[in-house]
Symmetry: C2
Subunit: 270 residues, 2 copies
């Protein structure tokens, strides 16, 4: 991965948090900060910045949306870890937010991160009205049609077939990957790149989740693609989706960084 | 209260939900709908519409923000009722959301309502860019500087003095009242009305919470203004704040509806 984009993301997140520190109640701020700065891979903002580069959208302009996407991802992990959801005591090798700060603060830290993501996007749209459509798309991907919808499918069904488990993954994980890849395409007006990024993102989003399942094979959850479809089928699907994603990029000479990210996500071992 | 504004709010909320029904997972949608349509008084959208009238802002234009404010208020109640927060089994005489749908779905319904509020505001700003500042202000009031900050103060402190309990109330309840009253003032450009509505809203926001405490005296919570300051002091403060709110409106002949709302909120008995 390209250090420049990762460093920029990190420093923008740090800047945002240093601006807010004095304005938020101490413990709430600490719980938010604890979860945002906890060795996340920053895959979603990274993908958004690569997609922006591909679309000819200035990195600085799209950055507030990239940062917001990471805040949304982080809030979803905090809420997912709560006892009434997955009840996980650990996240990325650290104590999960509610174990460190208590359930009430963790719930509120999640709420506050989602809210901050949107505050941040409103601010960005105020300064750059041409980000409006992109921000609106990110909001839709994060909500009940997208990520939250996927979480709800997980917690309101007991039986899964291929269609339902695929929908769950496409929404719960895929929606924010689509937000990352497509938001910049909403800013530029290149219809061809927009369409290709759409196919690329849908394939990569699902692929990313299935790869995660395979890497955490020991934990094989019954409500995962791996749990429902088995190892062999999951491995085949990952390979097929990877090919599909790369095929979508084929017409473009200037998509090498996206191709590299695709290879990185497919070949990662953690 | 003026039926027209209440009916418009109700029908906009219904329209929004009927548009979303087919797009959301069934149970998630039901949990969201259950909580939004449960005999809420719609004080916040109502205040926003009265304030818009006072500011000369078209009711139809501000409506998406009014509706969003009610969605934000509703999500905060769902999360507040969860076992890790206030652990309330009832809300407005009905079973609370997590008792009716389970904790996971209730948590997600709250998240989804917050998200939908922002989606709805982005949509509105796209159609009417002059709503940008107002939407941005609503977002700030809802977040860790405002309402969520107030909830966090409640759950991260055990000892309260007058300053801290006042800050809690001003943020937890007052922030959304300020959002309602001031959002329209961000759309019009009447500096005098903006300032007067600022004073009015700060006084009314606190007053509204203290009146609530007094109406629910039997339940007197230790982390309430009433619990910390006692009945006599609370009653005096309510009266003082009511006067302050009305005084702020004094220079204006066209503020009768706001004056009526103020009287209604002060004299209500539930």
């Amino acid at each position: 991965m390209i250090d420049f984009y990762l460093n920029e993301t990190e420093s923008e997140l740090k800047k945002l948090f240093s601006e807010k520190k004095a304005l938020y109640p101490d413990k709430l701020f600490s719980a938010m900060e604890y979860s945002v700065f906890s060795a996340g891979k920053r895959v979603r903002p990274y993908l958004m910045l690569l997609s922006a580069e591909f679309c000819g959208v200035d990195c600085k302009k799209i950055m507030p949306l990239a940062v917001s996407l990471e805040l949304i991802h982080t809030y979803s992990l905090i809420h997912d870890d709560l006892p009434c959801m997955d009840d996980d005591d650990f996240r990325r090798g650290k104590t999960s937010c509610h174990k460190a700060f208590g359930e009430a603060l963790a719930l509120l830290a999640g709420d506050a991160l989602l809210n901050l993501a949107f505050e941040n996007m409103f601010e960005a749209v105020k300064n750059n009205p041409e980000l409006g459509l992109a921000a609106s798309y990110v909001a839709k991907c994060a909500g009940a049609e997208g990520m939250i919808g996927g979480q709800a499918i997980e917690f309101s069904n007991d039986e899964f077939d291929e269609a339902l488990i695929t929908e769950l993954c496409m929404k719960k994980t895929g929606a924010l990957i689509c937000a990352a890849a497509l938001a910049p395409a909403y800013v530029c007006s290149d219809r061809k790149k927009f369409n290709c990024l759409g196919t690329f993102a849908s394939a990569m989003g699902l692929c990313f989740q299935l790869k995660d399942d395979l890497l955490d094979e020991k934990k094989c959850e019954p409500k995962s693609y791996l749990g429902v479809m088995g190892k062999e089928h999951t491995e085949k699907t990952v390979a097929k989706l990877g090919e599909l994603a790369l095929k979508a990029l084929e017409p473009f000479d200037d998509a090498d960084n996206l191709r590299d990210l695709c290879a990185f996500l497919l070949n990662r071992n953690k």
